[in-house]
């Protein structure tokens, strides 16, 4: 087996055992990126020298016994909306094309404390707005299973890098499905933790009340290890929650005896692709055979989640993105006449179409006279959706369903019809509105060989139940194939 085919936890064990080193792993991965990324375009920034310097430092710490965790020495890819000190952080936007942060995001710092080595920054939909990674100002990322298809988004670069073995694991961010959906399209594991579990300090905000950083990994074991490393209470983030149950690796148990699993009928109606439906229900059967109690139920309110989400996320985004004005950092237009013309031209030239669409939508729903009708109503819908989930979790430990209605669409087929693209988020966004944890993991492939994702949703703070159920399912399913077998 090639070193780049190892999981993160396997690699760390090998480094600890002395059979390889962090430097060797980083070099192998950088070589692979050099060969493959021309095809897939997973990365916006790769800095070979910085990576190798970090790997050397981490390796010496491992040898000195200062670092011995389950991820020590393992190279990681970071979504380009997390600040990394001294390394370009663009959000895949022209407006931040020259932005080098003066500090590192707390979640990334947590990984570095655990001995991670940063390979580079991954491509994404501009400011995390999109479901295909096609809105990036730095080119589209291609699905490693089939380069005619999108990798999903917005964490498409991170998911594709994991799928193409262009990193051992990656961080993504999930505002409405941006980790889970690309994980599903790329056949990787992706998890969105309970809101407040991972610090948002240094994550360039899209929808602040919905954003959450999480892992994209090759298997559930890596997912638990990474989540354990990045979860922390951070006084710099007011929405951060102090938890004492973040030993997520302890939940890696092959056991779902008596686990109550609910399948929402609402998630299996019109619009769901037949092959996706069959694969997801087959996964539920597998869990039932292992002793889980599986039952169908009505979640309700599903159709209201999308309008509520696009109202709230766009409103927050319209305000969050005001700071990109050409004054302090980032892109500034060449020629302008006065301050307001500078603002207008900088932002017109610096932002892409989808970002502008959401800024306009968000500004509209917050404007005087419309605030109550749109924004406040959306907040009320959000509260009702949370209540619907509360009711469901009084009966079930885990809710099981698809991640997305279809497998990865073809490149260029989504942006022309944004409403249709938004509707593709139907199974993922309610989770963000309710602040819940959810995991996506591969459960099969369609007739074209494109992966299908299974989504498990838990009540707040029930990540361990999700990890245990996902791990058990992984044992039933067996190893998932690799997207890119050989490097020519």
């Amino acid at each position: 087996m090639s070193i780049t085919d190892m999981t993160a936890v396997e690699l760390a064990a090998a480094i600890r055992a002395g059979t390889t080193t962090s430097v060797e792993a980083a070099e192998a991965m950088l070589d692979r990126i050099e060969k493959l990324d021309k095809t897939y375009n997973c990365y916006v920034t790769v800095d070979r020298e910085k990576t190798l310097a970090q790997a050397k430092e981490v390796q010496s710490k491992i040898e000195a016994g200062e670092l011995d965790g389950p991820l020590a020495g393992v190279p990681v890819a970071i979504k380009d909306n997390m600040c990394t000190e001294g390394m370009l952080t663009t959000c895949s936007s022209k407006i931040l094309g020259n932005f080098v942060p003066m500090y590192t995001a707390e979640a990334v710092l947590n990984l570095q404390r655990a001995g991670a080595v940063i390979l580079g920054k991954t491509n994404m939909d501009e400011f995390a707005m999109g479901s295909t990674t096609e809105t990036s100002a730095y080119g589209v990322t291609k699905n490693p299973w089939n380069t005619d298809h999108v990798p999903g988004g917005s964490s498409g670069g991170s998911a594709a890098a994991v799928a193409a073995n262009e990193c051992f694991y990656a961080l993504g961010s999930d505002t409405g499905g941006s980790i889970r959906q690309p994980a599903s399209y790329c056949g990787t594991v992706g998890m969105k933790p309970t809101y407040g579990t991972v610090s948002r300090y240094g994550l360039i905000a899209y929808g602040s009340s919905l954003d959450q950083i999480g892992p994209l990994t090759r298997d559930v074991t890596d997912c638990a290890a990474v989540l354990e490393a990045i979860a922390s209470y951070d006084v710099k983030d007011s929405t951060s929650i102090e938890r004492h149950d973040t030993d997520f690796m302890s939940a890696l148990k092959d056991d779902v005896q008596g686990m109550r699993i609910g399948i929402p009928r609402d998630y299996f109606g019109d619009g769901l692709d037949g092959e996706v439906k069959d694969a997801v229900l087959k996964a539920a059967d597998g869990l039932e055979k292992k002793g889980a109690v599986v039952e169908q139920f009505d979640l309700s309110l599903t159709e209201y989640a999308i309008p509520a989400y696009y109202t709230i996320a766009a409103a927050e985004a319209s305000s969050n993105l005001e700071r990109f004005d050409g004054i302090k950092y980032g892109y500034r237009t060449e020629d302008y006449a006065g301050l307001h013309n500078m603002y207008k031209k900088t932002r017109s030239e610096g932002f892409g179409q989808e970002v502008k669409r959401r800024i306009m939508l968000g500004s509209f729903v917050l404007s005087s006279g419309y605030y109550d009708a749109y924004y406040l109503k959306a907040l009320r819908v959000k509260a009702l959706i949370k209540k619907a989930f509360d009711d469901a979790f009084s009966k079930y430990d885990v809710i099981l369903g698809p991640v997305a209605p279809t497998t990865a669409p073809k490149l260029g087929s989504s942006l022309a019809d944004p409403i249709k693209m938004y509707l593709g988020d139907i199974y993922t966004i309610a989770v963000n509105l309710a602040g819940l944890p959810a995991i996506s993991l591969p459960c099969g492939a369609d007739k074209n060989g494109l992966p299908i994702g299974l989504q498990l949703i838990g009540d707040c703070f029930q990540e361990k139940r999700l990890i245990q159920t996902a791990y058990t399912y992984e044992q039933i399913r067996g190893p998932f194939p690799m997207a890119v077998k050989e490097v020519g």
Binding site: A105, R200, I204, A205, D237, S238, S319, E322, Y329, Y375
Partner: protein, 477 residues
């Protein structure tokens, strides 16, 4: 018959809070540092940075609310006010619109006729200050300093309950005193730590509806406020009299020209698109927190006046002046704690201190001498180590530089000469040099002694004990 009009005034008062650090980050609020040296990712609006509320700001805001009889909002929130300007690094200001921390308060002011009037407080909310723009005409560019960005403010919004400039000044003085007593701010209008915007409208006496109001900005002193109120009242009255309409607008007062001009009308008013800031969790004020802040409320002026009257034998007028500012009351009490002589301390404050403040145009907040040194000076006069004219001389130096009076008297050799032998010699010389005065004295002119005392003091460079000089003179004559 000419119509009678009345002026209706409400105020929006911004007060900069005296916290050590900013409202949403740990940067210092100290004044006068080099540009952008007191900044961090949060107060410069760096991507990915997040605000965290400074608890001291909340405590000060609640304390001011309690002292002004407000209802404290037990579940409050911060909202974003969105507008683009380079001094505002995020292009939104974090403020409070929907659920401000304090509401429905009032303060009592004294009216001209000696009565008491209650001025309602609509709300008090917390917010962040903006940075400072500097326009460089020479280079034709603008620079921004974010040191002030994120300095905590409270905005106190009154009801339209005031009817004259006098009432406005009385209200502002009352607010200032309350806030100074709380230690929440030094409230200096000139330096901008207290800023008042005046909302004013004019209507016929007896009218039920309010007239159209204007908002006046850039008022940097009580005098400017009075002048602006007079000017705006006249301007609006003239408009109404001539059948024109008052336009709802924001006006800027130019105090040197004594007139205002329109900045922006209601039609140009921006839509701030306020919404709850998702980066800050709602503020929940617990019973414990409220009780704790209540228990730490200081003794306010009326209580202090009552206590001084009971405890110290000093005139009512002195009490009024001393308690009229927190700084003065602190100086009085701290000096008292050392020397236990209320009358003497009060005399120094009411006499020399007020005199020198007037002469040198020093504000009470800028007084330099310490209670320790004032107590030492009192001890020096008590022990007759220096006489009263030397004491005044020393006090003036203390007033300017807070010099240690003991050290100063020692260094300058100002101690009263109590050596009878040396003094006797000088007195003999003075008698010898002034035969006419001696003769006058013997002829029954008592006044002549005064002249001889003066001559002796002069010869002693003021350092003699006048009582001893008097005694010696009478003996030798």
């Amino acid at each position: 018959m000419a119509k009678e009009y009345e002026t209706v005034i409400g105020l929006e008062v911004h007060v900069e809070l005296a916290t050590k650090t900013k409202i949403f980050c740990g940067c210092s609020t100290a004044f006068g540092a080099g540009p952008n040296t007191q900044t961090c990712p949060v107060c410069t609006g760096m991507p990915g940075s997040l605000p965290v509320l400074n608890k001291q700001v909340l405590e000060y805001a609640i304390a001011v609310g309690l002292a002004t009889n407000c209802d404290i909002t037990r579940y409050a929130k911060f909202d974003r006010k969105n507008y683009f300007y380079p001094d505002n690094p995020q292009n939104y200001q974090i403020s409070q619109l929907y659920l401000p921390i304090c509401r429905n308060g009032s303060v009592e002011i004294e009216t001209k006729d000696g009565g008491v009037k209650s001025v309602g407080i609509h709300e008090i909310h917390m917010e962040e200050d903006a940075g400072k723009l500097i326009h460089d005409e020479w280079e034709d560019c603008s620079l921004v300093d974010y040191n002030r960005s994120g300095v905590p403010l409270i905005e106190i919004v009154s009801e339209p309950d005031m009817r004259s400039a006098e009432e406005v000044i009385a209200y502002l003085e009352k607010l200032r005193l309350i806030i100074q007593y709380l230690g929440a701010s030094d409230c200096k209008l000139q330096e901008g730590s207290m800023r008042a915007d005046v909302n004013l409208s004019v209507r016929e006496v007896g009218a039920r509806e309010f007239g159209t109001r204007t908002e006046m900005k850039n008022l940097n002193s009580f005098k400017a406020i009075s002048r602006a109120i007079a000017g705006e009242t006249e301007r609006q009255t003239d408009l109404i009299e001539s059948g024109e309409k008052v336009i709802q607008e924001t006006r800027r007062w130019d105090d040197t020209r004594g007139e205002s001009y329109a900045m922006r009308s209601k039609e140009d008013a921006q839509d701030y698109r306020y919404f709850p800031d998702p980066d800050l969790v709602p503020i929940v004020v617990s019973d414990e927190m409220l009780a704790d802040i209540r228990s730490r409320q200081p003794e306010f002026r009326s209580e202090k006046m009552k206590r001084y009257k009971e405890e110290y034998d000093i005139p009512d007028y002195d009490i009024e002046i001393i308690t009229g500012s927190k700084r003065m009351a602190d100086l009085f009490e701290e000096t008292m704690a050392i020397c236990r002589q209320p009358k003497k301390v009060s005399n120094w404050l009411m006499g020399e201190t007020l005199r020198l403040m007037k002469e040198k145009e020093v504000e009470v907040e800028d007084l330099r001498f310490s209670p320790e040194n004032l107590a030492k000076l009192i001890a020096l006069t008590d022990s007759r180590a220096i006489n009263s004219s030397v004491a005044k001389e020393v006090f003036e130096v203390m007033f300017d530089t807070n010099v240690d009076p003991e050290q100063y008297v020692e260094e300058k050799g100002l101690k009263t000469v109590n050596d009878e032998g040396a003094l006797k010699k000088t007195v003999e010389e003075v008698i010898a040099a002034n035969p006419q005065s001696v003769e006058d004295y013997h002829n029954g002119k008592e006044k002549a002694v005064g002249f001889l005392v003066g001559q002796t003091m002069k010869a002693m460079k003021g350092k003699a004990d006048p009582a001893m000089v008097n005694r010696l003179l009478k003996e030798l004559l």
